[in-house]
């Protein structure tokens, strides 16, 4: 018998189906049907939270008002991803991810940048969404944000 110890290999397949809730459902419908990005406002702190959600996690209050934001926003920080994780990454490296604060929003949306020369990305850059042709009800219904041609 070989001196090697046993290593057991396995892979579990567990299906998941996550309920998005009424607010996330409307958020994605607005993108799919109207190409509109929506936030919700907290009545206590007044912040507009994007994506739209049922309650403000800072104030623990239900949000009360739907607000259209953007579609143009500003890059508040970014990175260029060079490592490869093909199972989980939506783009082939190198690619850029950024925090984008949409006009009228008080929180930033973490998303991808596209149609951009990576070396030219800057904090403060203004960007606009490119929507997916066939929306599926998730965050990649916005394919990515690209630099604004004329602002």
């Amino acid at each position: 018998m070989s001196e090697e110890v046993i290593i057991q290999h396995t892979a579990l397949r567990i299906p998941y189906s996550w309920a998005a809730g009424a607010h996330a459902t409307r958020f994605y419908r607005e993108i799919a049907e109207h190409r509109r990005i929506m936030g919700t406002r907290c009545p206590r702190c007044g912040r507009v939270l994007v994506p739209a959600r049922k309650s403000c996690s800072r104030c623990f209050q239900d949000t009360t008002e739907w607000v259209e934001v953007g579609p143009i926003g500003v890059v508040t920080s970014f990175t260029i991803v060079h490592y490869s994780e093909p199972q989980i990454q939506p783009m082939k490296p190198p690619f850029a991810i950024a925090l984008i604060r949409l006009d009228g929003a008080d929180t930033a949306l973490l998303h991808l940048l596209g149609e951009v020369e990576l070396s030219k990305i800057r904090t403060g850059m203004r960007v606009e969404p490119v929507f997916a042709d066939e929306p599926k009800g998730h965050i990649l219904d916005i394919r990515y944000f690209k630099p604004v041609s004329i602002d």
């Binding site: 057991q8 396995t10 579990l12 567990i14 299906p15 998941y16 189906s17 996550w18 309920a19 998005a20 809730g21 009424a22 996330a24 959600r53 049922k54 309650s55 403000c56 996690s57 800072r58 623990f60």
Partner: protein, 382 residues
């Protein structure tokens, strides 16, 4: 010496098979909002949050982070607990430790699960040792059925007696607006339901539920000033077990060991007489008979006689699970916390249609993993 601690409020969702209308943080917030309202507090009054669920049931780790929209944990110390079926009781114990240490005055304990969102049995087997018992366990019911068979065979307990306990639990659930299964059953219906793992029939077994529960623990000074009568924690005892089911010593089980220590801490010498109500973690109906023996409510093998005599029904001398118990409601991460919350409601006199009259002392249990146990004793005085 630990400081005295009490439960000053609790809240639950109305548990059901699928809450497709809400996402997980929204589900959690329903229970938390109800608990805060019950205790006349706001989230600003909460010093720390303890939250629990089993990650593989929803496929998302770190609910202490991403569920904070529902838990209220933003800018507060928060801790995540996952101990299988005991999760909710471990959450309660952890919140108790937080307050008993003197470090925190008001701690929010949250248990939740959305079992509709995945395959529970496949999730459960990730809790078991992959090198030894995972492949032969046959999922969650297998281990319980092995224990049920051992118990029933050892003492001549009949399937009819076990089915009577299933009927009783679902009847009790009809008085509980939060319960998932409020079934009007007969013993024959239980016995004729499909056999899922001998000797456990379909109607003997707990369901899978979506739901959340929140309980607020407070230090002695805060609890004494509470507008509502608190339920004081007189004992909170945990016993873990050997890693493999094959190693378990069935004559010296963790529930009995935890109960003996809890009785010592609470000064209880005759549990049958001194306890007024029990909220038992009953994953299957046989546990309502077998595990009250472990709690020394009756002698070994006498669980069958207890149900035949009606002793553990709402009208009996020691009602077990006025809420309907786990076989009526089972959002796993919340399940054991619901036992503690229901025991507290009984002490506080707030259990409405399921209230047992004049409860001064209540016992709640949690069960999970490789037959490990938690026992809480709550009372009207510290």
């Amino acid at each position: 010496m630990p400081k005295s601690v009490a439960i000053i409020g609790s809240g639950q969702t109305n548990h059901t098979s699928r809450r497709a209308d809400v996402n997980i943080p929204e589900l959690i917030k329903e229970a938390v909002d109800r608990a805060l309202a019950d205790a006349d507090l706001t989230i600003d009054d909460i010093d720390a949050v303890v939250i629990g669920n089993m990650e593989h049931f929803e496929g998302i780790n770190l609910s202490d982070m991403w569920a904070s929209e529902g838990s209220g944990a933003v800018m507060k110390p928060a801790m995540k607990i996952a101990t299988g079926g005991t999760t909710g009781a471990s959450v309660a114990a952890c919140a108790y430790y937080h307050c008993a240490s003197g470090l925190f005055d008001r701690v929010l304990a949250i248990g939740w699960e959305k079992l509709s969102e995945s395959d529970t049995t496949t999730g459960i087997i990730t809790a078991f040792d992959p090198i030894v018992e995972r492949l032969t366990l046959a999922g969650a019911v297998g281990g319980l059925a092995i224990e049920a068979n051992l118990y029933m065979t050892s003492y001549g307990i009949t399937q009819e007696q076990v089915a009577k306990a299933a009927v009783m639990a679902r009847k009790n659930a009809q008085r509980n607006p939060h319960a998932h299964l409020k079934l009007d059953l007969t013993v024959e219906q239980v016995l004729h339901s499909p056999m899922i793992a001998y000797p456990i029939h379909y109607l003997d077994m707990c369901p899978t539920s979506d739901g959340a529960c929140a309980v607020i623990f407070a230090s002695e000074d805060v609890a004494r000033k509470s507008a509502h009568p608190p339920a004081w924690v007189k004992a909170a005892v945990c016993r873990h077990n050997h890693p493999y089911i094959g190693d378990v010593d069935w004559r010296k089980n963790t529930l009995e060991s935890a109960a003996i220590e809890a009785y010592r801490l609470a000064g209880i010498t005759n549990p049958r007489r001194e306890l007024d109500v029990i909220e038992l973690y009953d994953p299957a109906s046989f546990a309502l008979l077998s595990w009250i023996e472990s709690l020394h409510i009756c002698g070994p093998g006498e669980g069958g006689k207890m149900i035949d005599a009606g002793a553990i029904t709402m009208e009996g001398d020691i009602p077990v699970n006025p809420s309907g118990g786990v076989i009526s409601t089972n959002p796993i991460g919340a399940t054991a916390l619901i036992r503690v919350a229901e025991a507290a409601l009984q002490i506080q006199g707030k259990a409405d249609a399921r209230q047992v009259e004049g409860v001064r002392t209540a016992l709640a249990t949690g069960f999970g993993g490789s037959y490990w146990s938690e026992v809480f004793i709550l009372g009207r005085t510290p």
